[in-house]
């Protein structure tokens, strides 16, 4: 059995802002884009959450729920600094660190000698040190497998931790609602519910073969998770699979020309990001649109470079799905080749 700690900073961006601006501490606060520019909420504090404000919510919606909400712009460079500080703390406990984002990481402490090998004590210490060095609180989940550690870190939030011992693992997972499992979103949860499957225990009693037929590969993963199986190792050098750039428009656009114009604006940015990340061989170019009803569509073409002619050909394909709707977001991505096939076929300059 491994010992995994999942550390998650408590409302990270908002907490940093409250630390640096004490006058904002006692009011609903969110970091995000302005409603007038159709921004979205990145993070909000607990006072705001009490009104129902959530991450990724449109700022306009958040202001409806909580008219007194103070929405401030993010200061990414400060957050990155803090993130580097906490990662330095993690490094004292394990070399096997898998950062999930600036404010979240998995640590595999199976072979760590600190705290006589007690993961629970290590998590306590890490959270203590984060508090001392940054003035911010973090929560932790401790479990023998990854996804359970992540679920556990949410249970005593904020500024708390939750341990799932190996002996408790099976029972803990059995009672979990399936909607808590990674990869089960609204749609999958609804499909499962239609089959009468709500908890992991329900899924354990369900026919594995049937599950596989209904949900494909995802079905096999669900079956494993419901049986508390998660063999994914901590990946200390997580490899990026794609690089993207996108923009939410100030106003919906409708015509192909307008979308093309936006794409041409994004294109140099995508190129820059790809170059900055080391020019890894490209597998496909992907175009992403979000319509005014918030539904998303993506179209892609295998091609080894950022090619305007490919993009031009992808656009009408994506717009076939427009069906009169306005477009609120335009995005571009390249998916990268896996590390093994790290050679790049060059293109004819057609």
């Amino acid at each position: 059995m491994r010992k995994i700690i999942h550390i998650d900073m408590d409302c990270f961006f908002a907490a940093v802002e409250m630390r640096d601006h004490p006058q904002w501490r006692n009011q609903p606060l969110a970091v995000g884009g302005q409603a007038s520019r159709r921004g979205v909420i990145a993070t909000c504090n607990y006072q705001a959450r009490a009104f129902g404000v959530r991450s990724a919510m449109a700022t306009a919606k958040a202001l409806q729920l909580c008219p007194n909400l103070l929405v401030v712009p993010g200061r990414m460079s400060v957050y990155k600094e803090v993130s580097a500080q906490i990662r330095a703390i993690f490094a004292n406990y394990s070399q096997l660190i898998e950062p999930l984002s600036l404010d979240e990481a998995y640590l595999d402490v199976t072979n760590s000698q600190a705290c006589q090998g007690s993961a629970t004590l290590m998590a306590e210490e890490i959270r203590q040190q984060i508090w001392q060095q940054t003035g911010l609180t973090a929560s932790a989940g401790i479990a023998p497998i990854k996804f359970v550690a992540k679920i556990a870190s949410d249970l005593n939030k904020p500024n708390g931790q939750f341990v799932v011992l190996p002996s408790q693992l099976d029972d803990f997972v059995a009672q979990l609602p399936l909607s808590k499992l990674p990869g089960v979103g609204r749609v999958t949860a609804e499909r499962l519910r239609e089959l009468g499957l709500v908890s992991c225990q329900d899924l354990r009693n369900f026919d594995r073969l049937k599950l596989s037929k209904l949900f494909g590969k995802q079905g096999q993963i669900l079956w494993q998770r419901a049986h508390a199986i998660d063999d994914r190792a901590i990946q200390s050098n997580r490899v990026r699979k794609s690089i993207g750039i996108e923009t939410t428009l100030n106003q919906d656009i409708h015509s192909p020309e307008q979308v093309w114009q936006q794409l041409l604006i994004l294109l140099p940015g995508l190129m820059q990001r790809w170059q900055a990340s080391g020019e890894r061989p490209i597998q496909a170019l992907r175009l992403k649109l979000k319509f005014d009803d918030f539904s998303l569509t993506t179209v892609e073409q295998r091609c080894p470079q950022i090619d305007e002619s490919v993009l031009k050909a992808l656009l009408p394909q994506a717009l076939e799905r427009q069906q009169g709707r306005g477009i609120r977001l335009v995005g571009l991505q390249v998916s990268l080749q896996s590390q093994e096939a790290s050679s790049q076929q060059l293109c004819l300059p057609l």
Binding site: L314, Q317, S343, Q345, L348, L350
Partner: protein, 369 residues
């Protein structure tokens, strides 16, 4: 409807025509073949609404006119399975086609001929007619077809460019990584070069249809259609609308480092080295020095290398290439020796038949490792 035909006369045209019909179409009638008796002629027609193939077979006496459609694959398989010398009699009986031959009797389901989509290829508004020996036409198609893109969003790449000028037919195909180009003498009633893009499937059907014979065949092109008729089979296909990219820009003109090598030796070497290349990227590294070509696989753990005697005078070159692309080119060339022309380590390679350098040109972009 009733007709009698020898299996021998039927099988050839039927095999060509039936291949066009769609096995898994949403329109049931498209998986059928239309059979029509008109005067002394038996007509066989299949279509996928893009490519249409019409076969004509001369009949003997005692026929009864009429038309019907039957499942193409089953009809073909039955005819195939009969002995070569058999006569076949088909009679329409209510909604069944009764087929008798020797001691066999089959009853096939049918769909009405009226439901069968007939192309409205308005060939009257002719754009131009090209004439060239049938075998030559086949060989330029064979020489270039392999480079046609597969399901590219740049839909105009999913076909072959036919460029017709007064005394020449040129075929060009590219998938964005490599390009093939071939020329053949032809006569056409045009002063300027006219371009048409032939869909991938049409190219493959034409490759099947054309025979390596010296007699002339006429190719008729309009804005929307191509039609080729060899007397027995009339082939019609839609063209891809759109503009083919300017291929001149990517055919190198300054590759003056010439390497000459025996084609079959190089092919055999590459086939061996290919086994240990990475299965997706299929990269090989060519290291070229005076009169020597060394080929290395670019794989994960396993390694292959082989050296070949070649004719080469020039600076050392080291270049990465997709071995599959190279083998495709070597298979498309007929000559005993091939000419590989390089510029440097990172520019495209031009490959030609050493004995007929102006017949086909093949451009392959390198890989970066």
């Amino acid at each position: 409807m009733r007709f009698i035909v020898s299996r021998e006369a039927l099988i050839g045209p039927l095999m060509l025509v039936a291949n066009v019909s769609e096995r898994r179409s949403t329109m049931l009638v498209l998986s059928n073949i239309l059979i029509q008796v008109r005067g002394q002629e038996l007509l066989l027609l299949a279509t996928d609404t893009e490519v249409e193939m019409l076969g004509r077979i001369r009949l003997l006496d005692h026929n009864e006119e009429g038309s019907i459609t039957v499942p193409a694959k089953k009809f073909l398989d039955l005819v195939k399975s009969l002995p070569d010398e058999n006569m076949i009699e088909c009679v329409l009986d209510a909604d069944r086609l009764i087929m008798r031959s020797g001691r066999s009797k089959f009853s096939l389901s049918t769909l009405p001929a009226e439901d069968f989509p007939q192309s409205d290829a308005a060939i009257n508004e002719q754009k131009l007619t090209v004439s060239l020996p049938q075998g030559e036409f086949k060989s330029v198609l064979n020489a270039t077809a392999f480079a046609i893109a597969v399901q590219d969003v740049r839909y105009y790449l999913n076909g072959m460019l036919l460029e017709v000028s007064s005394d020449r037919l040129r075929t060009v195909a590219t998938d964005g990584h490599r390009l093939s180009l071939a020329d053949v003498g032809a006569s056409a009633d045009t002063d300027q070069a006219v371009q048409s893009i032939l869909p991938r499937k049409a190219v493959h059907e034409l490759q099947r249809l054309l025979e390596p014979r010296a007699e002339e065949i006429r190719v008729v092109l309009t804005d929307k259609f191509i039609r080729v008729d060899n007397g027995q089979i009339q082939f019609t296909s839609n063209l891809i609308e759109g503009r083919f990219p300017d291929y001149h820009r990517v055919v190198p003109t300054q590759n003056d480092l010439d390497l000459v090598v025996d084609r079959s030796l190089l092919k055999a070497t590459l086939a061996r080295i290919a086994i240990l290349t990475h299965e997706k990227s299929r990269g090989v590294r060519l290291v070229i020095s005076e009169n020597l070509l060394a080929v290395f696989s670019v794989g994960d753990e396993e390694q292959g290398e082989e050296t070949l005697q070649v004719e080469y005078q020039g600076p050392d070159i080291e270049i990465g290439l997709n071995v599959g692309y190279l083998l495709d080119v070597l298979n498309a060339i007929d000559g005993e020796q091939v000419l590989l022309q390089f510029k440097d380590n990172t520019s495209s390679v031009l490959v030609r038949d050493f004995d007929a350098p102006d017949r086909g040109r093949y451009v392959v972009m390198p890989m970066r490792f």
